[in-house]
Amino acid sequence: MIAQMLMDGLIAGSMIGLGAIGITLTYSILRFANFAHGELVSWAAYFALSVSTALGTALPGLSASLGPFSFGWSLPLGLIAAMALTGLLALFADTLLFARLRARGASTIILVMAGFGAALTLRSLLEFIFTSKPMYFTSALQIARPLFAGARATPDQLLGLGLAVALVAAVHLILTRTAAGRAMRAVSENQALAGLAGIDVAKTIRLVWLFGASLAAVAGVMAGLLVQIRPYMGHDLLLPLFAAAILGGIGSVPGAMIAGLIVGLAEAACVNFIGAEWRAAVSFFILVAILLLRPQGLFGKAGA
């Protein structure tokens, strides 16, 4: 059953990795640990659910299953809408809250606390609107197919895994090969100098929010598809996301993905050898270990 454990770990890990890329980006460029990132994940799942349900009702053809997957075209369309809407939500929060604090030169910890307040607000609003009852994108049950050495996975799970790998590559390329990516990295290192180099820092920061929120949206839809949709889904994912971002080294996109997989595998091992009830504690112990042994993370620069 070791093969199955690895498979489960990789699937959960790719989900964590996806969320952690968003956190590591916003963390390194906006320079604070955003506790509301988990809520972007949850809101995205509900956005996608609402849009895909509406689409499916209006055009029933769109909810017919796509090939081996459990969902129809309405879900990918819902995901695209969710990326846009979550981006707008993040920009809205930035304009209303974070940008004002930044303009005042607020310290990191004030921004962290603002994120905490925003998280409370956003999460409980979801609970108010949708109640805490779990929801699902589809009611279709999928059969896990045998893969190798007795390990099984559903087509949805394999799609998620593939999507995660593709997105890491895409984000990495955007950061290293495009003008917008260079601008983000420059702003991450030194905002004043970025301005002197002709970069519009305010615009770049808005871009980072959009980018981070879109990634949160993919993670949220994936978590909603593979597990379930709940107002607390993002909150519960937050600790693994932070652990992965720090383990990977803040700012490192490949690092966040690899660390996400490590966290996922560690959780799967915990479920297998210790017990499922301790799963949520795994991230904390990874976090403790990394802070004690290598606080800059596996792929981070010392002193960062």
Binding site: I109, G117, A118, L125, L239, A243, A281, L287
Partner: protein, 325 residues
Amino acid sequence: MIELISYGAFFLTLALTYAIMCLGLNVQWGQTGLFNVGVAGFVGIGAYVSALLTTPDAPDRFGGFDLPIAVGWIAAAIAAALASALLGAMTLRLRSDYLAIATFGFAVVVQLAVLNLQKLTGGPFGISFIPRPFGALASDPLVFGLCNLAVVGAVTLAVYGALEHLMRSPWGRVLRAIREDEQAASALGKNATVFRLQAFAVGGAIMGLAGAVQGHFIGYISPEGYVPILTFQVWAMLIVGGSGNNRGAIAGAILVWAIWAASGAALAAFIPADQQARASALKIVMIGVAICLVLLLRPRGLLGERATVSRHVENAGDHAKDKAS
């Protein structure tokens, strides 16, 4: 009338246990600027440690040890202080937001531990028969209630007095100096990290004590008592009371607890049962909005009245700091 007085005593006693937590948080955030997102974890540790030490021997779990209540309370404070010190030692020399993340994770782990370590904590069933101060008087609700109020009130006053004294001592002045201008403070040769660690542990100890006091007052504890919502409540109390200010922390705790209890009662009375969970979600929305509004509108008040946060510390690296020249 008598019923009203004994309800009043009950309400006030419970509110004061929150006031103690709030005082602990005030040492960490209000005085030192350390952001603790895991208040529930430290309160929970205190409650469980004291319960374990003071309950009579129970066949289905480890302990209890039937020790005096005072021993339980002291042990609760020590245990929470140790946990805080460990977390602080791990994170305080790193980025300022790592402490926030670590405390967040810590609360998750404490919650899991009390739920899963059934042999130690009673698991989901919790621990009951926690000895209550003046338990012998329980047959007379009024006297019993007033005696408990007196004890919890005395603890609150003692913590308040000790903190006021500490804040006026050289130690308190150094804390404020560090909070207001870290570079200036370290230039003075003070080891800022050690001072912040001490403040964090003192705050943690107070939260642990508050957890123990509350557990003994109610007589029963279970994992649901230490979920994240407790953290949010204590934050709301500190923010309403105005952080940096110990009297405000106590007043804020009583006020927020009153609003919380009253709105809970109103919800139960006027909102249909199936909508009550939704309505209480709105209560949390309000806490969140309040936190954001205070940050936006009263940033100075947040760090205490004398706070002068240097706006330019971050880019002063290569310049002499003396403005006198």
